[in-house]
């Protein structure tokens, strides 16, 4: 039996700010932004939410739904580009919060938006080698964006957690591979509050090259074609890129719509492609085949082929990702600024 997903959980902060509201402040046409980006609103972390709390919430849901004994989790990896501490791991906070004891491997990962899927691959390797029974891979972010930067329309917060193991697998990992190059499309240096990006350079040479290459390579390696998949999900920095990537590769709207969550919660960075993937798992049936391709700037893509197993039938999946997306409380731009600590307080 191959390793696979044993359980999964997601967390999306309940606050939202609309593209209309942001565009109004910056004198942009909301319709142009919405049409141009394919994003309508985004999630906003509340004052007491950060990558650690999002990771813990997602992990708790995964543990509970899978009825996993936390002490049997042998490794925790948290992928993020907004770890609360530069030095001091998020993974230890998660381990303590869910009660893993002390005998587990732990580390924080960073690979822009794909550190979560990198964690899944590492857990898979450790499970298959027999090092651990279960591994917990998390991708979560409260992504940063400078006021007035186009990133501000999409940079949001959320995360997903996956328990990887060989026992009780609901979605087997049939294949995974990565496509990686040194491509400086998006970066944030030590001490900088907001990331920098190369404008349109983030498109063809970065996102599209890596996503399509990884997807093509994994299909070549396994002999599958797009029509063999029931669902596909690609990293979602905005609503346009994944749709275009799907079109380039020959996937239909029907295959990607269920996992296309960016329009209503924004780009959750390390959570982006895996929240989309979780939304697909929410409705997947035994026998379904799913393609997941993440993307992280800098740059690389991890591609996975999952086969949903019979155990999915009895796996509890409510509330679904879309339930969480559709809920939410809208805040205005000023509140958003306050919550994101962009208002400088006295003293």
């Amino acid at each position: 039996m191959k390793a696979g997903i044993v359980s999964y959980g997601t967390y999306i902060p309940r606050l939202r700010v609309s593209v209309d509201e942001i565009a109004k402040v910056w004198g942009e046409s909301p319709d142009n932004v919405k049409v141009g980006l394919g994003v309508y609103r985004k999630s906003v972390p509340d004052l007491d939410e950060d990558t650690a709390t999002i990771s813990v919430e997602a992990a708790r849901e995964a543990i509970e739904r899978g009825k996993i004994d936390p002490e049997r989790i042998g490794a925790i990896f948290v992928g993020s580009e907004s770890h609360p501490y530069v030095v001091k791991p998020t993974a230890t906070i998660v381990g303590d919060a869910i009660g893993c004891g002390n005998s587990f491997h732990a580390a924080d990962f960073e690979f822009a938006c794909k550190a979560g899927t990198a964690g899944i691959q590492v857990c898979m390797g450790m499970v298959e080698s027999g090092m651990i029974e279960f591994g917990l891979a998390i991708g979560a972010d409260t992504s940063q964006s400078a006021p007035g930067d186009p990133l501000e329309y999409s940079a949001s917060a959320g995360g997903a957690a996956f328990v990887v193991g060989k026992k009780g697998v609901i979605a087997e990992i049939e294949e995974t591979l990565s496509f990686t190059s040194d491509t400086p499309d998006f970066w944030r240096r030590e001490g900088q509050p907001y990331p920098s990006h190369g404008g349109r350079f983030t498109g063809i040479p970065a996102y599209f090259r890596h996503v399509t290459s990884a997807a093509i390579q994994i299909m070549e390696k396994t002999g599958y074609k797009p029509s063999d998949f029931d669902y596909a999900v690609f990293h979602q920095p905005n609503g346009k890129f994944p749709i275009r990537a799907a079109r380039i590769l020959g996937f239909t709207k029907e295959q990607i719509n269920q996992g296309l969550v960016v329009g209503y919660i924004g780009n959750t960075y390390s959570g982006s492609s895996i929240i989309g993937f979780s939304a697909i798992l929410d409705i997947a049936k035994p026998g379904d085949k799913i393609l997941l391709v993440s993307f992280g700037s800098g740059a690389g893509s991890d591609a996975f082929i999952f086969n949903v197993t019979d155990l999915m039938e009895d796996y509890p999946r409510v509330p679904t990702v879309w339930d969480k997306i559709n809920g939410g409380i809208t805040v205005d731009y000023s509140t958003y600024l306050k919550l994101r600590k962009k208002i400088r307080l006295k003293g």
Partner: protein, 387 residues
């Protein structure tokens, strides 16, 4: 004065050439021009290079020496000179090359233009372009190049009733032409509604009124008549190549709906060539913004001042009209590789006059190109005739 002819032309692709370096782009254009002329390279006696801002785009000055080095010309000690006149740099390089042959000093020279803009971010690019206006009196108080052209457009609207739809038609035409040009950056057609729905860059100019800033290079080989006849049966003679200046800052100009430098250079060019505007069959214009093409119709004498919009409304400047303008797609669709543009225009006119312009071919024996620096403080006009 010697008669001067273009005997070879070359051009790189224009666009966001992220995977190509400045040197590769220039070499591509230069080698294409040499091959087109049937030269080995050792025949070249001098080189003139148009480049606006290698210093800021690439942190590389001494561009002329760099290109001479990488093209093998420094091996022979060939003199290489960079000339700069903002986005008229290419036109100036053409003119210097032309003068050096016309004067009898050289028999055969190369004129090139090149710019690599995508190595810096868009804010830096905007600032570099703003340096082609008056930094102290315009730039420091917030004016960018699009903002200054927007002022010209507003004034033209107010004085003459020109409309955003008229400007949109220019963009639509240039995209239509660019779709037929394999070297163009934007090879797709657009509709008037697309232009009118695109976001404002500087009101009333919208995104699709503005040419992109592009990577690209172009090169042409110029020779005197005797040498030209040895190499080609279809030399394209330069009947005039004139240049004029205007006040750098818009505020000092009497009328911002006209470019005085263009009018002066045009009068000189028609005079030298013994021609009238109606003798011209095809033109390449400097449509860095759609309003610039419309103003050029008027300043070049193709239509009375204030009535430029009629030419685009009536289809006169379309490929199948009586005065096709920007068959290449112009700066809007072919791309605006700043220092390369003036040379790229000469490449297009040469193709057109030779009858080698493919799907965008028009019927023409006499062509004209207009290359403008910044908001019009430098203008270079060249008139070409197939011989």
């Amino acid at each position: 004065m010697e008669r001067v002819a273009i005997i070879g032309v070359g051009q790189s692709e224009f666009g966001e050439l992220w995977d190509k370096g400045f040197r590769e782009i220039v070499l591509k254009a230069g080698i294409d021009a040499l091959e087109d002329a049937g030269l080995e390279g050792k025949e070249i006696e001098a080189m003139y290079v148009g480049n606006m801002s290698g210093g800021r785009y690439l942190a590389q000055e001494h561009i002329a020496a760099l290109i001479a080095d990488y093209s093998g010309l420094s091996e022979m000690g060939v003199p290489s000179t960079r000339v700069e006149g903002a986005d008229a740099s290419g036109g100036l390089a053409l003119r210097q090359a032309y003068l050096s042959v016309a004067s009898g000093l050289h028999e055969i020279v190369i004129a090139a233009g090149a710019e690599k803009v995508t190595d810096v971010g868009s804010e830096m690019t905007t600032d570099i372009m703003a340096s082609s206006a008056d930094r102290e009196w315009e730039g420091f108080v917030g004016a960018t190049i699009p903002a200054l052209y927007a002022l010209m457009a507003r004034m033209h609207f107010t004085k003459y009733g020109t409309t955003p739809e008229d400007l949109a038609l220019i963009s639509v035409k240039n995209h239509r032409n660019g779709a037929l040009n394999p070297k163009a950056q934007f090879r797709r057609e657009i509709k008037v509604e697309d232009v009118l729905k695109s976001p404002f860059v500087a009101e009333p100019l919208r995104l699709l009124d503005c040419a992109p800033l592009s990577d690209g290079a172009a090169a042409i080989i110029l020779a005197n008549e005797k040498v030209a006849r040895e190499y080609t049966d279809s030399p394209v003679f330069i009947k005039a190549c004139t240049q004029a200046s205007d006040y750098l800052a818009l505020q000092n100009r009497e009328d911002i709906t006209t470019m005085r430098a263009v009018k002066i250079a045009a009068d000189m060019a028609y005079d030298q060539a013994g021609l009238k505007p109606e003798d011209i069959d095809v033109v390449e214009l400097h449509d860095s913004f759609t309003i610039a093409e419309l103003i050029a119709y008027e300043d070049l004498g193709f239509v009375e001042k204030g009535r430029g919009a009629e030419l685009i409304r009536e289809g006169i400047t379309s490929l199948d009209g009586s005065l096709p303008a920007n068959p290449s797609g112009g700066l809007k669709a072919c791309g605006h590789a700043i220092g390369a543009t003036g040379i790229r225009q000469a490449v297009e006119i040469t193709y057109q006059l030779r009858g080698k312009a493919g799907k965008r071919q028009v019927e023409a024996e006499m062509g004209l190109s207009l290359n403008i620096g910044g908001t019009g403080a430098t203008a270079v006009i060249t008139i070409y005739e197939i011989g």
